[in-house]
Amino acid sequence: MKRVRFGRIVKSYQHSIYGYSFYMLGNREDAEDITQEVLIKAWQNIDSIGKGSIKNWIIRVTKNLCIDRIRHRRLNQTIKPDPPPPRDPEAVIEGREIQERVREAIGNLPLTLRSTVVLREIQGLKYREISKILEIPINSVKVQLWRGRKLLRQALSPMQNEL
């Protein structure tokens, strides 16, 4: 039964964990490591996690592990983002270039704003869910989203002008 439940957790959440980690950390290798750690922790704690709170538990653990990884990087100066693709002016219009710039803009957001923006825009969570996971009031969620989006608009406006 434990394995069946764990299988369901993996199936339901592996992509969310990976996606959130990728946008927080900026590279796939770290995102894979975090996903692996979260899933192992889920297995170890599966009996104590309530069925109704598994989603919040998973995202909270993922967020905490990502923050730990970022702090560890800063202490050890081991930042290793994925190599940026070569910038080709003609490729500006191509979808891939746009996506890369958007990812970069998200990655340059301050940590707190990045987490809130990713949870809302990438993971599609509601304000109430974000508020529970981050353990902040809903008004703080709104303010963080407003600030994060403002920074993203500033970062991406040159690109939008090119388009």
Binding site: M1, R3, G19, T35, L39, W43, I122, W146, L152
Partner: protein, 169 residues
């Protein structure tokens, strides 16, 4: 609703997090205010950009790395010295129960007639032994439930049905 209130609620409006009354007021204001409409359009454009990102899929290699950790825990569970004696005791009990059932089933003597109460008593006794076996070994419940108990239970049911048929003949 004025411009200040509209601007404060614009993001929540786009996120679908506004109450219906507020949504209506914002829509009415946007119809008449080009400045707020421009802010709204900028917010929409940004949302569109963010949602154009393809969903990130977790590579299958991650699951392959997770599995050995889980299997490793199950192996450690098996090898635990505190459970060794229980595994031996449980296995011995299981073998005894199965041997008893096979012996009874294959015996060629004309079988005595058992009353319903005797059959029910026997069934209860076997169920108790099975329950003790399950508790004593403390094997992973899903292995027990999936691969050990159902076949044993099926076997028991067949044996008792045979007794019933012979009793009724």
């Amino acid at each position: 609703m004025n411009c200040k209130e509209t601007q404060e609620n614009l993001e929540a409006f786009l996120d679908g997090e506004c109450p219906r009354r507020v949504r209506k007021e914002i829509k009415a204001h946007l119809r008449n205010c080009p400045h707020c409409r421009e802010s709204w359009q900028e917010a929409v454009d940004l949302k569109r950009l963010l949602h154009s990102l393809p969903p990130e899929r977790c590579p299958s290699s991650v699951k392959k790395k997770v599995w050995p950790e889980i299997v490793g825990e199950k192996k450690r569970f098996w090898g635990s010295p505190s459970l060794g004696w229980r595994a031996i005791l449980g296995s011995t009990l299981g073998v005894l129960v199965i041997s008893l059932l096979i012996g009874l089933h294959l015996h060629h003597r004309p079988s005595p007639t058992y009353s319903r109460e005797e059959i029910a008593k026997g069934q209860a006794g076997i169920e108790l032994a099975l329950a003790y076996y399950q508790h004593a070994t403390q094997l992973s419940t899903d292995i027990i439930e999936r691969e050990t108990i159902p076949p044993l239970r099926n076997g028991l049911n067949k044996v008792f049905k045979t007794f019933e048929k012979r009793r009724n003949l």
